[in-house]
Amino acid sequence: MVVTQPPARRGAALLLTASDGRTARRKTVNAAMTGLVGGAALIGVGVLAVILGYIVRRGAPALNWAFFTQQPAPLGETGGGVAPAILGSLTMVGVGAAIGVPVGTGAGIYLAEFGRGRFAATVRFIADLLTGLPSIAVGAFVSAILVRRVIHSYNAIAGGVALAIIMIPIITRTVEEILRLVPANLREASLALGTPVWRTIMRIVLPAARGGIITGVVLALARAAGETAPLLLTALGNQFFSLRLGEPMAALPLQIYTYAKAPYEDAHVKAWGSSLVLIIVIGAFSLLTRLATRQRRFR
């Protein structure tokens, strides 16, 4: 395509470097906006630094052997630890994973391998919607059934189920995305050998996407480990060691809440310490998944 150029105007070069008031104002606005935009990015980075800084500085003094091994001291007394809360968090995240991982992965497999048409679109949409649901509403739902109707006591199972509901949509969508990255010719090669579809998926597709699936699951676990609101309505919390699933159980986020509200300095120190532990666990998860996904694609 030929573009006819307008006749070059004399003084055009002059215009480009003009230093009249209008140009000066435009340049000032440009510089100011550059500053503002940079400032916005700085706020984002700065806020994280400030929050992490507080957690490390106030939390680190709380960490010692007793902190990780003992039961909480009665409120108001110094000493003790948060071992039951760590154990409880592990237990309930474990229960959540036992339910959430198979359901989430299964649904993800359906969406990636079979999902076409309206039903699949609905599932996809609802999974997205579920990730945005208020977690406290999930807690209210589980509590209304498992605590009020079935077990008649605050219990760890309900906590685990609530965490599972939070994990499922995250796992489903990650698994679907990862499986879609597995090259079609891997499936075709397997199917051409006469392998049934289900074996192809179980033995070829899933192993090929193993890294990505683990990433999705770990991400969901990290998210669940930090959830507080649903546990408050279901597992309630506990100051003592307990592994009974039908009874109230402690959890790290719940312990932070209890300690934060308590009017004692030692409790506050422990709240910061617990936060530090929680953030280290979640941060390690995040970093690992970041490294794993950086190796690109589906491995």
Partner: protein, 330 residues
């Protein structure tokens, strides 16, 4: 090798082939069915949540009707339940968060896409997104012990001194500045939804074709004029979607708000210093204390309204973002 293997296969006879075929005939539909069940479980889950919450709030809905939502008095002892103050608190704090977070999030997204050198883009995105990985309760702890006192000392008292006597503005700073109020909760929410809005806005701005920018630059526009005239109009729809998505997140936020909002006044007031409730913080505070059936039913009704409001806002956000491009899973 291959031939001898094939021969071995043949020697095993038709029976083996037949079982292979049979296994597929059973295995494939079974497997497919199983995954459909799991996928269906997701749909059933949402339906169950809505139905159970609706069912358990029917007693309150039946007894109070619309007053349950429009009533301004929430008094469990008198069995009077009107959740308007909670709805107001939720909307007010979320709006504060949205107003504070959106410009910063768009700025940060613009910086990452338009200004930052290549090596800085990844790290900055990662750092801002890490904000999303911090659990709600930790924001609450930080807001309770650090931000709240800071706000009282360095923001709310000066605000009160500056606007306390200005007609019109003074109603926003009415009441004592205590640092555990709507404003503090709103600021915490702003920090929490910043990564959500930022990462969706970044995706959307990324999809703006370079030809748009080049056209403006070729006309002699400055960088900012390019962004204002070509990039932002093109990305506007998606950015609005990003903001609405952030709003959806703010509406349901519980622990951070519960620890910073004060939870003591059910007065509906425009004052930023109201130590009020949100629906979520009311649930966190009262769900376990609701001993009588009608109290419990009313509290569940709060959960239902929260679920519907947050669900509808999320729905709208996802529709907007889906239409204008970008990834909503932030």
């Amino acid at each position: 090798m291959a031939i001898s293997a094939a021969a071995r296969e043949r020697r095993r006879g038709d029976k083996h082939l037949l079982t292979g075929g049979q296994r597929r005939a059973i295995g494939d539909p079974l497997f497919r069915g199983l995954t459909i069940v799991f996928a269906g479980a997701i749909v059933a889950l949402l339906a169950a949540v809505v139905l159970v919450l609706f069912n358990d709030s029917r007693a309150a809905l039946g007894r109070y009707g619309l007053r349950l939502i429009t009533g301004q008095v929430w008094n469990p002892q008198a069995e009077t339940f009107g959740m308007l103050p909670y709805i107001f608190g939720t909307l007010y704090t979320s709006l504060i968060g949205l107003v504070l977070a959106t410009p910063v999030a768009i700025g940060a997204a613009l910086f990452i896409v338009e200004y930052a050198p290549g090596w800085l883009r990844g790290p900055i995105s990662f750092i801002v997104e890490l904000l999303a990985a911090i659990p709600s309760i930790i924001y609450g702890l930080w807001g309770f012990f650090v931000l709240g006192p800071f706000m009282r000392q360095f923001l709310e008292r000066p605000m009160k001194a500056a606007f306390g006597d200005v007609p019109g503005l003074n109603q926003f700073v009415a009441g004592p500045a205590i640092g555990k109020d709507m404003l503090t909760a709103g600021v915490v929410l702003a920090i929490m939804i910043l990564p959500t809005i930022m990462s969706v806005a970044r995706e959307v701005i990324n999809t703006v074709p370079d030809t748009q920018r080049e056209g403006m630059l070729a006309l002699g526009a400055t960088k900012w004029e390019t962004i204002r005239g070509a990039v932002l109009p093109y990305a506007r729809g998606g950015i609005i979607g990003a903001a609405v998505l952030g709003l959806g997140r703010a509406l349901g936020e519980t622990m951070a708000v519960t620890l910073t909002i004060g939870n003591s006044s059910t007065k509906i007031s425009p004052s930023l210093f109201t130590p009020g409730y949100t629906m979520a913080s009311a649930l966190a505070n009262q769900f376990n204390e609701a001993d009588s059936p009608i109290y419990f039913s009313s509290v569940v009704a709060v959960a239902l309204v929260l679920l519907l409001v947050a669900g509808i806002v999320n729905l709208i956000a996802r529709l907007i973002v889906a239409r204008f491009g970008g990834d909503t899973r932030a």
